[in-house]
């Protein structure tokens, strides 16, 4: 028990410092600006050409909005305008991307820049989120942080 008492505080302090350091790196990368959108260009041609089975479907866009709120809004903001932790999705780079490219990003994440993979969401739910993102009229929506 005495040994445990000596070792455990060290582990907990190390744990806290390591998580804070790691978080700092991610935020610094997000702040780098437009290059965060470059990941969209890395989507292979076959992925970009994929068609959204729910394109223009308002019911699926609403469901996608619910999923966005649950899984994405924490980093990208409740109206997708971006936060300190994630870039705006109202920008032209995102709004003009093909549905397939958005789906590819959702599936693969941008792991180096702190966006996790979301393939744990079923394919249909990822398409619902893409449908929601494509339904945002970014010209009429005021960005939350720019």
């Amino acid at each position: 028990m005495k040994r445990l008492m000596k070792v455990m505080p060290l582990f907990i302090v190390g744990f806290a410092i390591s998580l804070a350091l790691a978080q700092k790196d991610d935020i610094a990368q997000i702040r780098q600006g437009p290059s965060v959108y470059a990941a969209l260009e890395k989507a292979p041609q076959s992925a970009r050409a994929k068609e959204n089975p729910f394109e223009g479907n308002p019911r699926e866009a609403t469901a996608g909005g619910k999923l966005f709120e649950q899984h994405c809004a924490e980093c990208h903001g409740p109206k997708a305008g971006g936060t300190r932790r994630g870039p705006s999705l109202l920008r032209g780079e995102v709004q003009q991307a093909t549905p397939g490219a958005l789906f590819w990003i959702l599936t693969n994440g941008v792991v180096r820049r702190g966006m996790p993979v979301w393939s744990k969401l079923p394919e249909q739910q990822r398409w619902q989120i893409v449908t929601y993102l494509r339904s945002i009229n970014w010209r009429r929506t005021a960005p939350e942080t720019q």
Partner: protein, 306 residues
């Protein structure tokens, strides 16, 4: 309950844990909640890591039957933190209560999971490294390794506690998701850090599928999209002295996870022993909640300088 048991084990440890608990609760009050789609696995790992900056607090219980001894209730608390999108780190605190015997704090574990590939592939590998310092009274049976069998735990706690293990555990988490199905396979390699002890081997395999692939437009607690059902199988494979299935135990465990829009996830798993060396039943349940923005909060506490 777990906290109360820890306090009973000693004044210093109790004070330390109680202060830690208060600090954690204070921090969590100022964090945001975040909904997550959690897998139903309790023993098997898939390749999905904690979201960066999020802290997931989990509590799990295992009720186990024991032939030749008293049934037990083992429990553990997990603090799982997404350090980056490719690194998740975790701290476990274990304890157990054996019926007609007593309750003990049995040790702690620190684990790290590292994603090896940036993009998704058909099979996705994640490296798992864990250090554990536990006593022989640890009964959570989170992993069943080597020649772990039911009779190992039949002795009273006073005897089991005399054994102290320092172990290094390595796993390769292989996982694939296709058409809503997740299939995960974890080969496990464990080394007790005493030089004379052999490497032990084990496996865990699982498959799961959500009850609905599409989300409904409205927020709902009981809609099928919130449930993921699955099954796990896990057991030992011997050690470097005697590799193979003789004198090993194995379990088959149907499991289900229910993720609520209010950010809670419940898990239930009923593990059935597959041979005479296995506990007849390991009934597990767990509750977890994810707090996003925890990392940023910690950073602010250090004045943004960390």
């Amino acid at each position: 309950m777990a906290l109360g048991l820890f306090v009973c084990r000693g004044w210093l440890l109790g004070r330390f844990l109680f202060c830690g608990f208060l600090v954690l609760m204070f921090l969590l009050l100022f964090c945001c909640l975040s909904s997550a789609q959690e897998s139903p696995y309790i023993v098997t790992y898939d390749h999905y890591l904690e979201e960066p900056g999020s802290l997931e607090v989990e509590y799990f219980s295992t009720f186990g039957t024991q032939r030749g001894g008293n049934d037990f209730h083992a429990f553990w608390t997990e603090f799982e933190y997404g350090a980056t999108a490719w690194w998740t780190t975790e701290l476990y605190l274990d304890g157990q209560a054996t019926f007609s015997d007593g309750a003990v704090f049995t040790g702690f574990r620190v684990e790290n999971r590292l994603r090896l590939l940036q993009l998704e592939h058909f099979v996705n590998p994640v490296l798992y490294v864990e250090y554990e310092q536990i006593s022989g009274a640890d009964k959570i049976r989170k992993e069943v390794e080597g020649h772990d069998v039911e009779s190992d735990l039949a002795e009273p706690n006073s005897e089991l506690r005399k054994e102290h293990d320092h172990e290094l555990e390595l796993k390769l988490l292989l996982s694939s998701t296709f058409k809503g199905w997740n299939v995960a396979l974890n080969p496990i390699f464990t080394k007790n850090l005493s030089p004379s002890e052999p490497w032990e081997f084990a496996y865990a395999v699982g498959a799961s599928h959500p009850l609905a692939l599409k989300a409904l437009p409205n927020r709902c607690s009981f809609c099928r999209e919130n449930f993921i059902a699955g099954v796990e199988m896990y057991g030992g494979l011997g050690d470097t002295h005697s590799l193979g299935l003789p004198n090993t135990s194995h379990y088959l465990a149907p499991a289900i996870a229910w993720s609520l829009p209010s950010d809670w996830t419940f898990r239930l798993s009923s593990g059935f022993g597959l041979n005479d060396n296995s506990h007849r039943l390991l009934l597990r349940w767990g509750i977890s909640r994810e707090f996003s923005g925890f990392g940023e909060l910690v950073r602010h506490l250090f004045g943004g300088h960390v």
